[in-house]
Symmetry: C2
Subunit: 375 residues, 2 copies
C-alpha cells in the first residue's frame, strides 16, 4: 500500500438486509436486488431462488431472474445492469439508495449516468411501530430468552461452593462456558438461536461486551445477557439478569440495588410522548444521587458507561434508541430498558427487560423474576 494512503473499513450490521426482509418478506443466503416504487415491489434473484422468492415475498411483488430481464452472460450478474433493466421494466427515471448501499455500486451508477441519490433518512421508519403480528413474534423470542435465563440461573443456583469460593456442579467446576452451553441448548428447544450470549462474572462483567470465560465464583456478580433470534421469524428477544451465588458483600448489594432502582424508575417513565433521552437522564441521576459516579479510572471508563436501551425487532439494535437520540416514544415501540453499573474490583451489574410501549405506559413482552443472591 502507498504510504500516504489509508484503507478505511467500517464494521457493523447493515440495516438494509433486515429492511429488505421487512419490506419484501424474502430472505436468502446469497445477495439479491430489491426495488420499491410508489406502487410495486420488485426482486431480482437467481433462477434457483425464483420459486421460493415468489412463494415467500409479499403479495404483489414482481420476481425476476436476470434472464427474465433479458440479461445474458457475465453482464447478467452486474448489479448496475440489473438496476437499469429494472428501471426500464418499472418505467422509472430516478433511484434512491440507502446510506449503507455499497459505495462501489453507487459510484458506477453515477458514472453510467443513472440518476441516483442517497436517502439519508431511515428507510423504514414504520419498523419502529410494531404491528400485532410482530408483537407476537417478539413475545415468542422474549419467552425463549426468559426460559433460557431461568435455566442458566437455576444451574448457577444449584452449584456447590467449593474451596476458594469456586462453584461446582458435582465434581466439575462451573464455568461461564457451561452456563452458556445450557442457555444455548434451551434456546434451541424454543426454536431460537443464541449467539454471543454473555455469562461474565466478577471483573469480566465490568466490560459490558465481554462474553465471559472460565470458572465462576461465589460472592461475585455474574451478568447474564441473552439475545436470541427466532429461526422461524427472524425477530429477536433481549434480557439481562445479574446474580450472585451465595451472599454478596454489602457494597455489591448496594450496587445491585442502585441498578434495580434505576431500572424500575426508567420503566415507570416509559410512555408515549416522552423523549427517550429523559429516561436515560433519569437513570444517570439516580446513579449520581446514590454516589455511583461515571468517570475514567486508569484509562478505563467506569460507572454507567452505555445507553439505557434500544429498539428490538428484526435487528437486535434498532430504532428507537434510549440514550441521546432525541427520539419520542410512541405506542407500539419495542425497547429494552437496561441500565448498568461497572466498577473493576467490585463488579458489574446490568438488569434488562424488553417492553412494548402501550397507550398508558409499558408492558413486559415476557416477565422474569429479578433476584440477586442465590442462597
Amino acid at each position: 500500500m502507498n504510504q500516504l494512503t489509508g484503507l478505511i473499513l467500517l464494521a457493523g450490521s447493515s440495516p438494509s438486509d433486515t429492511n429488505i426482509h421487512y419490506l419484501s418478506g424474502f430472505t436468502a443466503p446469497d445477495s439479491f436486488l430489491y426495488m420499491k416504487t410508489a406502487k410495486v415491489s420488485y426482486l431480482v434473484v437467481s433462477a434457483m431462488e425464483k420459486g421460493r422468492a415468489e412463494k415467500q415475498s409479499t403479495p404483489g411483488t414482481q420476481v425476476f431472474t436476470p434472464a427474465d430481464l433479458g440479461l445474458k452472460g457475465k453482464k447478467a450478474w452486474d448489479r448496475v445492469v440489473q438496476i437499469r433493466a429494472l428501471m426500464d421494466v418499472a418505467k422509472i427515471r430516478r433511484i434512491k439508495v440507502p446510506s449503507d448501499f455499497p459505495a462501489g455500486v453507487f459510484q458506477t451508477l453515477e458514472k453510467k449516468g443513472i440518476k441516483v441519490s442517497i436517502e439519508r433518512n431511515t428507510i423504514c421508519p414504520e419498523r419502529k411501530t410494531k404491528r400485532s403480528d410482530e408483537l407476537l413474534k417478539l413475545k415468542n423470542s422474549q419467552k425463549s430468552a426468559v426460559a433460557a435465563m431461568k435455566a442458566g440461573i437455576a444451574l448457577i443456583g444449584s452449584s456447590k461452593i467449593g474451596p476458594k469460593k469456586r462453584l461446582f456442579i458435582g465434581k466439575e467446576p462451573l464455568t461461564s462456558e457451561k452456563v452458556r452451553h445450557l442457555i444455548h441448548k434451551t434456546l434451541i428447544d424454543h426454536d431460537c438461536a443464541g449467539v454471543e450470549t454473555i455469562v461474565a462474572g466478577g471483573d469480566q462483567g465490568t466490560d459490558p461486551h465481554e462474553r465471559g470465560s472460565g470458572p465462576l465464583y461465589a460472592g461475585q456478580s455474574i451478568i447474564i445477557d441473552i439475545f436470541p433470534r427466532s429461526e422461524k421469524t427472524g425477530y429477536w428477544g433481549d434480557i439481562t439478569r445479574t446474580v450472585c451465588r451465595g451472599e454478596a458483600a454489602p457494597e455489591l448489594k448496594t450496587l445491585y440495588n442502585a441498578v434495580k432502582a434505576a431500572q424500575a424508575a426508567a420503566l415507570r417513565a416509559v410512555q408515549p410522548g416522552i423523549c427517550a433521552d429523559e429516561i436515560h437522564i433519569l437513570c444517570k441521576k439516580i446513579f449520581e444521587q446514590r454516589g455511583f459516579q461515571t468517570k475514567e479510572v486508569d484509562g478505563k471508563h467506569v460507572g454507567f458507561i452505555h445507553g439505557t436501551g434500544h429498539g428490538v425487532g428484526l435487528d437486535i439494535h434498532e430504532l428507537p434508541r434510549v440514550g441521546a437520540s432525541g427520539e419520542i416514544l410512541e405506542a407500539g415501540n419495542v425497547i429494552t430498558i437496561e441500565p448498568g453499573l461497572y466498577y473493576p474490583g467490585l463488579g458489574g451489574v446490568r438488569i434488562e427487560d424488553t417492553v412494548v410501549v402501550t397507550e398508558s405506559g409499558y408492558r413486559y413482552l415476557a416477565s422474569c423474576p429479578k433476584k440477586f443472591e442465590l442462597l
Copy 2:
C-alpha cells in the same frame, strides 16, 4: 415516494466485517472504524470497548476512542469527522474504501474534499490461502459439522416406517424440524452455532435453499446441509449428505450415483494450478453424459443449477469460487466440492465436502461416510 423514483436495496453479507476481523483480530456487536496504512493499523471504538479492543487486536494496533482523537459532543460519532482525525494522526492524505463501504459516508467524504477512492479489487486476497492456525480452526468447525451430520443421519436411520411411508421415532412423526433440532444441539456441544441448517425431503430438496419442514418419508431423498460457525474462532464448516430411509427407487439411486460420481471426479481434479472452472465443467459433463440435463421445466430450473463450490473461512461463502470465476486454485485454499441434481417429482441430491488444496491434490478437513440408503 415519488412515482418516478425507485428505492434500491441490495441484500447480502458484507465481506468488510470479516475482513476487519481478519486484519484487526477484533470484533464487536456495535459499529466501529478500522484503518490500515502501509505500516500501522488503527481502531476507533467506544470508550466501553477500548480495553477489549486493546486486548484482542493484533499486536501493534493503535486503539482510539473519539475522545482520544480530541472529538467531543455529537460530532465525536460522525464517521467522517473520525476518519479526518485519524488521517491527521496517521499523517496520511488519501484513503481507499472497499466496494461495500457505505455510500452515504463515501459521498460525504467526497463532499468534504477528502481524497477517497474505491478499491475495486479484493481487500484481503491473502484470506484465500489459509495459515496453519486457520486450517486448525476450520478443521475443528468441520469436525463439529461431521458430528452433527452423523447424529442427524443416525436419527433418520433409527426411525420406523409407518403408514403412508411416514417416518416415526416412537409414536412421534419424524420431521425436518426434529432432525434440525438434534443437529443444532449437537453443534452446540461442539461450541458451534448452526443457523439455517437444511433438512429437506422429497420435492422440498429440489430447491437448494429451502430449509425443509414437516414430516419426512421413507423412499425420498433427504438433503442435509450443515454449515456451523465456531463461536470461539468465527470460522465455518460446511458439509452436505443426502440419505434415504428405506429402499430408494432405481431412478433415485441412479440420481444419487451420478452426484456421487461427479463429486468424486471433482475431488480428484482438485490440485494447485487448476482453474476452478474446469472442476465445475467436469461435473456438468458427467451429468450430461449420464443423461441428467440442466434446463427450465414449467418456469423452474432443474438439473445442476448451482456452482460446484466456494471458499470457506471467516465467511461461509468466500474466495475462491468453484464455478465460472476463472480462479486458479493454490495450495492452502479451503473449498467445498458440492455438485447436486434437482428434479421435482424425483428429488434432490447434493453431496458436499470441505477440503484443503494440498501440494499434491486435496485433503478432507474432516471425513464423513457417504451412504444413501439407510436400510
